[in-house]
Symmetry: C2
Subunit: 260 residues, 2 copies
DNA sequence: TTGGGCAAATGGTCTGATTATTTGCTAGTA
DNA sequence: TACTAGCAAATAATCAGACCATTTGCCCAA
């Protein structure tokens, strides 16, 4: 018996009419909302496994197709991860800032946003967090940064320096502010850059010796808790990015390889 | 003939082995990637309509279920919008920062991110962009802000002030920086706040007369291009949010109603 | 000219089946 | 006993063909 969406509540809600919208549409969406709620309420925590598709069919009283569409949406939203095979199924995942940033980066590349726009936002943000970084950086933070600088210098010599390494450095600096929201945002900035670089096949080394040395100096300034010096270095460092971008005729994201 | 995912490439790629992952899985994902690419390349622009489900089935040589799952993912990603009925179908949408922020907000509330974290990030960002705002705000920007302040004051008197209004004001201020990246990020900050407020059923007026007056003063300072004054006002304004948040025992996002 | 109604297009859903993959257990062998 | 090969079960991925609900546009009648 193929039933249409007319009785879309599918036994949910039932007697009480406290539905927010007039949504008599899309059973799968109702399922998504239920699961979402369970996750928000903490009744489902990362690592938990949802019932199998067939179980969910029975519990919701819908067909497998509908359940699968709901799972697809949940997966695309970064809430669950689906594994096949025995002991497989839908597992609730811990939403990482990385995962969040990915989605955001995707849309930033689509939005009408120039490389200059992104660079300017970086200027504001990465300079703005420096006081926090200088104040809060731990020995571990600094040790990590030293390693990254070291790797950068080595890669530079062997000509294998990539933008990803530069991005990793900047993100690691931001994480020294010890604020997940800030870390996520910085990650977001670098996402679209890396993405567009991959698209443009510009994996070539773009970091000059000067930029690498600035990374080194920045770590030193952070270690010495010298905010003014750190600010000066970062300003120069980012400014050169901006300048290089200005050289392009069409400074859209495709050309976001100005990081030196 | 029910064929499994063994030939999951579905005729794509074919001879050349330049697939990024080993992803021989999930035909629907391949379809998603194709459409995504078309959108990125500008071959599909907002407003365009994808072929109907049944057409896509033929073109891709897959079943409707598979196509539908791909469409679900694209829809959840905010790339297309699906309308039913004749002349319906999947339409490419302009990815707005609002649409993006929604999904993002969801994940941010789930991520281990406290209200304090978000507030601190706001401090950095909203203070950091003030120089740009003061420099670039147009008469239109200021007129819009005046309207928002007016509405806020009226709502305050009638007791109908909502957090959404405060958020709208802050976002509008950010948009006066005339940088899409910045606007989008500020919107991202406010998304999770609104969401958690709705969850906590705290739609009540939280904006004190003091906060509303600060909004008014801020607009004035922007109009006068008085950066220092604007900075002072914004600092006080956000600081009170931080202070209020500190009163909570568990300052998680559920309590992100500190905006006054 | 206008209104009603019918038909086509289209998404939403159902049913029942096959295939591929993973896991765990079992039996056979050294 | 220990180890490996292989089979069985669980599970997601997909297919095929059907029916329902909604929207749009057109045609015909008043």
């Amino acid at each position: 018996m193929a039933m249409g969406p007319s009785d879309g509540t599918a036994g949910l809600g039932g007697t009480k009419g406290l539905f927010s919208p007039v949504s008599v549409d899309r059973i799968s969406e109702v399922i998504v909302e239920q699961v979402r709620l369970l996750i928000r309420e903490g009744k489902l925590v990362p690592g938990d496994r949802l019932p199998s598709e067939r179980s969910l069919c029975e519990q919701f009283g819908v067909s497998r197709v509908t359940v699968r569409e709901a799972l697809r949406v949940l997966e695309a939203s970064g809430l669950v991860e689906i594994r096949v095979g025995a002991r497989g199924g839908a597992f609730v995942v811990q939403p990482s800032s990385e995962r969040v940033g990915k989605g955001l980066a995707e849309l930033m590349t689509l939005a009408s946003m120039t490389a200059g726009d992104v660079t300017e936002a970086r200027m504001v943000f990465e300079l703005g967090i420096l006081p926090l970084v200088v104040e809060r950086a731990t020995e571990e933070d600094i040790a990590d940064l030293r390693v990254l600088v070291e790797q950068g210098l080595n890669a530079l010599e062997s000509g294998s320096y990539t933008m990803a390494m530069s991005a990793a450095f900047h993100v690691r600096v931001a994480s020294a502010a010890h604020n997940p929201a800030i870390e996520m945002l910085v990650q977001t900035f670098h996402g679209p850059m890396l993405m567009s670089l991959q698209q443009a096949h510009v994996a070539a080394p773009l970091m000059g010796p000067r930029g690498a040395h600035e990374h080194f100096e920045l770590v030193e300034a952070i270690e010495q808790r010298d905010l003014e010096r750190a600010r000066g270095i970062m300003t120069r460092h980012l400014q050169r990015t901006a300048d290089r971008l200005a050289d392009y005729q069409d400074p859209r994201l495709e050309n976001l390889d100005g990081e030196e």
